[in-house]
């Protein structure tokens, strides 16, 4: 669950989506990977988690299973964020690899990783291991700007993992580090590879089209806002060349704010509110995408 900008409801969407999926019989593990600003536990009303991610990171022998705490919701457990390590946001490469490996070996149906703001590699690297990279977006220019920057950065970070076989290191490097490079699109990269080797270009294209972000529009205040998701999907394809899936929109809703004040997920607290219904629909769409029925 990413989005670039802070305060756009990533934690709210993560926690409520977790509850909604758990209520549908899925085993869900929520992970607070907002390394510098963890608060997912608060969204779920777990005020003092007995173990957190910092226990895992500070003790080389600890296993990820040791820091999983219950949430009070059946099927839903939590790895709370690092609370007592002030430089958690700057974890070392080796620590990150250990955490990534630990996460990928968890036997659950859904692992929901709530990311922090920004587009640092420490954030992107969690986003790109996901089967569904969910991009949370508000219908505001600031959020849209950060979302595009985030998803482009994630795309090129993902590309770094496959670059070696295609001979595009310098292109990817430039895209990630320079202004002119950042303006590049997958079209140009594929074109570049194709000029050298048509078959390789074909394979790269296939690989790149697999980068298919899922969009969640939060805080829709008008009917027009409900269409922003579809508009972004269209624009992303026309100008960047990649597909996105519109998972749906969540209405701006004072009930959501009140639920946060009560430290309760809105899908439990006010299941009939517009925001909760939007979240339920998103959970259903996700299950449908994965072919999970009943």
């Amino acid at each position: 669950m990413g989005g670039g900008k802070g305060g756009i409801g990533k934690s709210l969407v993560s926690s409520n989506l977790g509850v909604a999926l758990a209520n549908r019989g899925q085993r869900v593990l929520l992970v607070d990977a907002d390394l510098g600003g963890a608060n997912l536990h608060t969204c779920l009303g777990v005020s003092q988690p007995t173990a957190t991610l910092s226990d895992f990171m500070l003790r080389p022998k600890a296993r990820l299973e040791d820091v999983i705490v219950p949430t009070g919701v059946t099927n839903l457990s939590l790895i709370a964020g690092a609370l007592d390590v002030l430089d958690a946001a700057n974890i070392k490469y080796a620590q990150k690899q250990r955490l990534l490996r630990g996460l990928q070996t968890q036997s659950v149906d859904y692992l929901i990783i709530d990311l922090g703001a920004g587009s640092s590699f420490n954030t992107l690297d969690f986003f790109i291991i996901a089967d569904h990279g969910v991009l949370v977006l508000l219908p505001e220019p600031t959020s849209v700007e950060n979302a595009y920057r985030f998803v482009k950065a994630a795309f090129y970070r993902r590309l770094q993992q496959v670059e070696a076989q295609y001979g595009i290191e310098h292109l990817v490097e430039r895209a990630l580090s320079t202004r002119e490079g950042a303006a590049r699109t997958p079209f140009e990269i594929i074109q570049h590879v194709r000029q050298q080797n048509a078959a390789l270009g074909e394979r790269l294209e296939k690989e790149l089209t697999a980068f298919r972000v899922k969009l969640v529009l939060n805080q829709a205040r008008s009917d027009g806002d409900l269409n922003v998701g579809a508009a972004v999907v269209s624009a992303w394809k026309k100008f960047f060349g990649l597909e996105m899936d519109d998972l749906g929109a969540i209405r701006y809703d004072d009930e959501a704010w009140r639920a946060v004040r009560r430290r309760r997920p809105i899908v439990l607290e006010r299941p009939d509110s517009p925001a909760a219904m939007g979240l339920q629909a998103i959970a259903d769409r996700l299950l449908a995408l994965d072919g999970v029925t009943g």
Binding site: V144, Y148, F187, V228, S234, A235, K238, F239
Partner: protein
Amino acid sequence: MKHFEQQSYYELLEIQVTATEEQILDAYARAMETYAPDSIAVYTLADPGQLEILRQRLTLAMETLSELDKRLRYDQSIGVKRSAGELALLRAESLKRAAGAEPTPEVEAKPAAEKEPEEEVLEAVEVVAEEEPVAEQTPAEPEPVAAALVQPAAPARAPMPGMSRPASHSRSIPLVSRPGTAVPPPLPARSALRAPVHAAAEAAARQRLAAEAAAAAPPASEPEKGRAPSRPVAAQQLGEAPVLSQAAAIATAESALAQVAGKARDSRTRLKTVVDVPSDAEFNGELLRRIREGRSLSLQMLADRTRISSRHVEAIEADRYGSLPAAVYLRGMLMSIARELGLDPLRVSRSYMTLVSEGEKKRR
């Protein structure tokens, strides 16, 4: 993976190659909103130059695909193959549309026919093909277009039990069933609302027109031959259609009415008062202003709803061709205004753009 400049017109508008004219115009209006200069969806993703190029291509796509001859030529150029049935359907739709917008030679030859109300009810769709152009030939008694009837209120009213079918209802059928010329529904809620009442009637009309078009050798060039003998058939089938649709519609009438009530509060709903627009009208700024006022819309309200600056709306209504925005923007604005006013977007924009270019020639 294609950059938009390599996308086909269909891909650009994100429509199927089988799309109807109405769907094409709808898709165009949606795209113009998505790719407006101030659209949030392209913020930091595309620079203004690229956006302008995309908008021009979208307009070109719409203009090519919304005229059947051009569309078929384009199809050929990109290798789209169509089955005979598909082709017949497209031809029939285009015919219906053309009949509503321009006088046909057949009608010119005929004296203005006397109206027979009973016949009108039965002939529903045919009426459009023949009566309207007749009215265009006799400007002395311009035929009012009852715009209010195109709106959701009309479909919702039709199936109400106990209500005698108003004579004017027969006028609403041709208007609604004519794709594109009637207001294309931009809101899903509204098309859903329209569907139950007219689905059966429209399906019947489409089937018949398709069959008719297939039967008449080159239907596009000789509409009169295909049409005349099919009249009694049309009367029969359409006589049945309302009965079928009524049965289906009664079930959904209540929810439809609830939706109408709900939608009435929505700022985007266009419940109209009746304004008389002669069917041969030239859509200059003056007429657009009169229609707007007839809808009890202030200039500012129209500007807000279409998200066009009030300065532009004012210049358009005042026919101040010198201070209008560039043609590519102007066309989109005119279409938005037309939609908001419940007019045929394509007809309004073409009519107005013609006036603009004539005005420019004069000034030179």
